[in-house]
Amino acid sequence: MPLTKTEQIVNASLKARRKKERAFQLFGIAAIALALFFLVTLMGSILSKGIPGFFQYYITLEIELDRERLDPLGDLSEQSLFDGQAKKIIEEVVLEKTGAKSRNGRKAARKLLSNGSDTRLTSFVRANPSLLNSTQKVKFALDDDADSYFRGFVKKETPEQQRRLSNIQIEYLDKMNEDGLISHEISDYLFFGSASRNAEMAGIKGAAIGSVLTLLVCFVIAFPIGVATAVYLEEFAPKNKITEIIEININNLAAVPSVVFGILGLAIFINLFGLPRSIPLVGGMVLALMTLPTIIISSRAAIKSVPPSIRDGALGVGASKVQATMHHVVPLAIPGMLTGTIIGMAQALGETAPLLMIGMVAFIVDIPGSVTEPGTVLPVQIFMWADFAERMFVQKTSSAIIILLLFLILMNGGAIWLRKKLERRW
């Protein structure tokens, strides 16, 4: 059968059309491939640096827990343990194990263990007072330079003047390693330590707790205000110029650089209200300002997605406007509101700049016990570690990034779970 005229024209153009389609598809695939490449590179880099950061080298020493020397006052009090000779006892064992005799050798050997070893010993004693007056195996962290040697960052072949460990220190480390005293284990300092200039002792506990406290404050402030604003604007506010301007401004606020909120917080909460610097309370309030637009926008979208027929149904049986809103619209919009809130909070969790403005970048060793005690947060801790020169901090930075990402994945997973669980159909 001969082709109709239309068919002939269509057939002639088919080739060009197919070509265009293929080009479009290829372009999309290329874009995704590029994105995947960067993602894989990023994850590869973070994981390859970060996973070793979860481990560190420990040395196990047999310590004679002599009560007289460790606890001179005999009451296990902080003062008593501080007055005791924990440091000296450890050094004696180290000198014995290394066999250091000369003055220089003894000096070099003492530097192989972490500065925090005596504190570690006294806390061990405090936790196990029954073990006093016996000989126990206790694990101490190696100094970060010694640690770097075992990681291969400090090499024997490097001339002595150019490396941070002397020949004699390397000799001692090798000797102790041959004796089986050195072990490579999951770093307890990383998870339970706090800010420290000593790389081997630095940990994220303080920052993690600071993050939790800050986000708590942020949620407690931002969620109710955000939801109330969204409900009012969507359900009750008259539609006029003023509400229109408010709406436009809320949408614009979502795009304001976060550091601006930090300056605002500095000016209002700290300078005007006189709240202390560096505390999670102020940090949470600043992040709440930053998160509010996100929460308001997503809550309004959630309210808009509730079908009007539900409102009509409630109004039709004589519910007041407030009842229709509170009994029907808000409960149906809650999943969407929570999802938006969690995404906003996840954004706040990763925020550094505004917190720098209000002083949460301070070097704080103590772990904050409440929202009014100075603290820092995970991303700021990462920012600070990234600034330090020691090799071990490079790895710890990546480890902390992994932990931060895990937090974020957890929160986003929570958002997805909540949405699935609370989702209702009509």
Binding site: I310, G313, L315, G318
Partner: protein
């Protein structure tokens, strides 16, 4: 001509405006108690708008303005002293699309009595729910699944659930805005039978696109065209001997 025994809704010179647009033009109508009145007319003729003025559902529409006087039971419902909450408890409404709340069947029906405080305790509430569901002809079908979601029912059942929800607060008037337009013929016939039954107790005003439906269920019919009330009278009269040529054109299928 069956006369109106007792007027319950009286409209006098009612006009409705959406902004500058006049949707309803100077309508006066009396609606009798315990009867079924049908509003018919082509799409966009204002019959739904007019229906929604009777329980002030138009209040929720931005820029909607009403002139004239509407009285229910002798009370001017647009008077400043009138609260819409008791008004809507008295004048219930069933919508075009079944719109049960995404809650259990029980909660759907119990919602109205609960917010108005009609039941003093759980067993009273149970009685109200059973009575309303029975009244809506749904009790036998759902008695064993009161805790299922209202949205799990079929379309026709959902619409009857909405009727049950409305009659649970014992209104005097039920407004029905094309209640069967989303339903199949079997569900429609069930709703129509239900309407006839309900009209013994309630005044029903129904907006419908189906002239057969108006002819089947209503005692009085009002024909609307372009915001005007063209003709109002006994349903039999309107369908058999329409006085107005426009009405005749519509019911004979010439316009619509």
């Amino acid at each position: 001509m069956t006369d109106i025994v007792e007027t319950i809704v009286n409209c006098d010179g009612v006009s409705v405006f959406y902004g500058e647009n006049r949707a309803i033009n100077n309508i006066s109508i009396d609606i009798g108690k315990q009867s079924i009145t049908a509003f018919i007319g082509p799409s966009g003729c204002g019959k739904s708008t007019f229906l929604r003025t009777i329980n002030r559902m138009n209040d929720t529409i931005e820029g909607c303005r009403i002139e004239g006087r509407v009285t229910v039971d002798g009370q001017d419902i647009y008077d400043a002293s009138v609260d819409v909450v008791p008004l809507r408890a008295k004048v219930g409404m069933v919508f075009q699309k079944p719109n049960p709340f995404p809650k259990t069947i029980y909660e759907n029906v119990a919602y109205g009595p609960r917010i108005h405080g009609l039941a003093r305790n759980k067993s009273q509430l149970d009685d109200i729910v059973e009575k309303a569901l029975t009244g809506a002809g749904l009790w036998a079908e759902v008695r064993d699944r009161l805790q299922d979601s209202g949205t799990s029912l079929s379309g026709g059942q959902q619409q009857r659930l909405c009727i049950a929800r409305t009659i649970a607060v014992e209104p005097q008037i039920i407004l029905m805005d094309e209640p069967c337009s989303a339903l199949d013929p079997i569900a429609t016939s069930k709703i129509e039978a239900l309407m006839s039954e309900l009209s013994n107790e309630y005044t029903i005003i129904i907006v419908t696109h189906s002239m057969q439906q108006a002819a089947r269920v209503s005692q009085k019919t009002a024909y609307f065209h372009l915001g005007n009330l063209i003709e109002y009278g006994d349903t039999k009269e309107i369908f058999v001997r329409p006085k107005d040529p426009q009405t005749e054109a519509y019911i004979s299928g010439k316009i619509g």
